[in-house]
Symmetry: C2
Subunit: 108 residues, 2 copies
């Protein structure tokens, strides 16, 4: 996808790591809150299996998505911004080109 | 496994169905209670994935086990008695041979 080489400074990697960790924590916190709500409403076998299906999908999505390899991280950030799990301001410290790429991709 | 034919009267099938449904309801109630307890203690990603693993195993076990086909039902009852999900008294109405088979298998 990327033909030009993207260079990361140590400081940028730190910013990226922090932003990534914060978004991951938010995703988990949201998931826990959803699970607790659904668990409190369980009554039938079907409701239990629905909870299981929901959790299977969420786990698959989170485990597939939160991948910190730098070559794909701007795309990950874009999807997190789009979904409200990451604020653009948390990416301050990345150079202008990286920041612009994230914002552009987040609008798709 | 069974070389002799086991004959079921309509009344016995009714007794079996009622016992089966009661045990299933107990299994689900116990599972819901466990899930609610675990959900209330969720804090980390690992705890969420553990809950998912637990629920996957429980679902697989329950769906595999609660099979009402008469040819295997005495074995199902034995395992339910063994695990405390069914009281021998709930099988009253089955003839003595069926009852004895369940109780014998439940001791393995």
């Amino acid at each position: 996808m990327e033909s030009s080489v993207i260079v990361w400074t140590d400081q940028e990697v730190e910013v990226a790591r922090r932003a990534f960790d914060s978004a991951y924590e938010r995703a988990i916190t949201t998931l826990i809150s959803n699970l607790q709500q659904q668990a409190s409403e369980l009554s039938s076998p079907e409701s239990v299996w629905q909870l299981h299906d929901f959790l299977s999908i969420q786990r698959h999505g989170i485990e597939g998505r939160f991948d910190f390899r730098l070559e794909g991280i701007l795309f990950v950030f874009a999807s997190l911004v789009k979904e409200g799990l990451l604020e653009p301001a948390e990416l301050q410290g990345l150079d202008q080109e990286k920041h612009a790429k994230v914002m552009a991709m987040s609008r798709f």
